[in-house]
Symmetry: C2
Subunit: 333 residues, 2 copies
DNA sequence: GAATGAAATGAAAACCATTACAATTACTGA
DNA sequence: TCAGTAATTGTAATGGTTTTCATTTCATTC
């Protein structure tokens, strides 16, 4: 089946390509009612779809943006992707989703592919290991927004959680409930992944604020599969913690799995709070207190920032936007 | 910043465009080691990225496929998307993910946008209401694979669950555990969404096999927000069901939420099985017996079918592939 | 009936890479 | 030095659209 082009439409409607193009771009003031109708009918009849690739080549704009997430397994990533997709759908944009799997190589590959495909901009959860690449996009003035993680030295618009506050909300809650021996577990912090670092810092600062001495043994940063070991180590301590803050949804899952397996009662034997809301939080036994990220607001903000870079509206905003988490108080603490 | 083209590279490396193009397409046999190196260095130095849009226009192939899911909120969709992405990443393809929100209008819009963008193929979870569109793609010989849902009359390659078996596995389990009054809840079946229909049919057939009379009051097909009402109705029956099969993960969540709220003990007051594995199934209290869809295998198969259509390898496969679910036996029944 | 100006239309260049092909140049070994 | 092969070049066409600007059309007016 031969594809039909604007030329076919033009010939068939007995007008020039230019006029058809004008029509396609809704510049009706340049043509008579009659030709407008004629073209409309012809398009209908031939079932013509303009070739967006050709248009993109000419216009240097693809109406497509890339979203590179560090790890699509986090609920948070999924929520953000969904919201970004929604936002851009309204604007007539498509999004290309890429999962870097926390792998800088893969990230690099994707970014280059996306740029080669001439996407109009990229929202990226940076792995943090491609500084030169980020730098280049920046100096090329290529529209880019960071999500969830910041790279201090780069001066790129960023949307992230107020992670410090996230920890604080949890710690305050623990203390309010009378716990003082509070542990924290996050996934690995190689490559200084900022939210994790910040959550730990927030944890430390909050304890300090409450005059609680820091116990290094209460802080674990390990891969998901090592969480059971980390928890076991807690319980082997002379003074095991009475409460644990799970640094993200994956950690929370592992913590709950462990507690279930070892028949440890929540919150009596161990109180638990998770950062990231999870779908089962409100009907688990006990219901789980979580610190919720405003994923949709964050996604919308990031999308907005990107779009304004793409459209070059407004002066450039290269600040780091930190949105506030909220505590969803339930019964696990 | 001016973008650099193949011409710039050619000039800079003092070779012709043709040679650079040969290089880009890895046809090294047409050039000496020396020129190969020279071009390589120049590309590196100028930081040249070939414009894939221009290439696509010429080659009529974008190395991009579209994935249109009916509803991205289902865990299953997410898993499938992830696996498809993985598969195509290996092949150097990008995927554009679209969420039709169970809305045929939106689906139509997306499919047309994707085709206008000249994607090389589409994997689609069909809403079922755009028969003419599906038909046209089919007759255009446009590569397309259906996922999760079938449209009987269309003769399009399809990958889906053996839904009949999924229900059977659950019912067999219920009966093995001594339950006879078994209910089922699925989300709405307007537009004859095939998995839901089939799961209900499987439910009916399995009961029949076991010689259990059908009770119409035990079957509910309602929207997610009406599930609490549906459950309440169960309990108001003269003989309330002792067991309930949740038709998908969203239904399961709502069922569990209800049970928690009304302090109904699982499995003693009501046994529960869910179709679709959920992340918390193995550490919930009680642990939840689920029927698991082989999401990754299904995704891989769909991707493979699509790719073979794109590459026109092998004869066309328009059959409906049904993969087998497995029962993950736990304690909720 | 011709001049005027606005409206409608068309021709051609541009976007950037691919491809084909004939033409040229550089090298190898005899 | 020559034939013969290998490497490279230049040119032009191709893909489908947008865009600019020149040209044509047409109704109006004097």
């Amino acid at each position: 089946m031969k594809t039909i082009t604007i030329t076919d439409v033009a010939n068939h409607a007995k007008v020039s390509k230019s006029t058809v193009s004008q029509y396609l771009n809704k510049r009706y003031e340049y043509m008579s009612e009659k030709t407008r109708k004629k073209i409309e009918e012809t398009i209908e009849e031939l079932n013509y779809q303009p070739n967006i690739i050709a248009r993109s080549l000419k216009q240097k704009s693809t109406f497509t943006v890339g979203v590179v997430v560090a790890n699509i397994l986090h609920t948070f990533s999924t929520q953000v992707i969904r919201a970004i997709e929604n936002y851009f759908y309204e604007q007539g944009f498509h999004i290309i989703v890429c999962n870097a799997d926390d792998n800088p190589e893969k990230e690099k590959n994707y970014i280059e592919m996306l740029r080669a495909k001439q996407v109009d901009g990229i929202i990226i959860f940076p792995t943090g290991d491609n500084l030169d690449l980020y730098q280049r996009m920046k100096s090329d003035q290529f529209p880019i927004v960071f999500m969830d993680r910041t790279i201090e030295e780069l001066d790129i618009a960023t949307v992230m959680l107020d992670n410090h506050l996230a920890s604080k909300l949890a710690i305050d809650r623990f203390i309010e409930k009378g716990f003082e021996n509070i542990a924290i577990i996050t996934t690995s912090i190689i490559r200084d992944i900022s939210p994790r670092i910040e959550r730990i810092q927030g944890y430390k600062d909050s304890l300090a604020t409450h005059g609680i001495p820091l116990n290094a043994e209460y802080i674990k940063t390990v891969n998901a599969d090592e969480i059971p070991v980390a928890l076991s180590e807690f319980f082997e301590l002379e003074k095991p913690p009475q409460a644990v803050l799970a640094g993200n949804d994956i950690v929370l899952n592992e913590v709950l799995r462990y507690m279930k397996q070892h028949e440890i009662n929540i919150p009596d034997d161990m109180a638990v709070i998770g950062i990231d809301e999870v779908p089962y939080a409100s009907f688990y036994t006990p219901t789980i207190t979580t610190v919720n990220q405003p994923a949709i607001e964050m996604a919308n903000l990031a999308a907005e920032l990107l779009l304004s870079q793409i459209n070059k509206t407004g002066k450039e905003d290269t600040s780091v936007h930190r949105l506030k988490p909220t505590l969803l108080s339930r019964n696990s603490c």
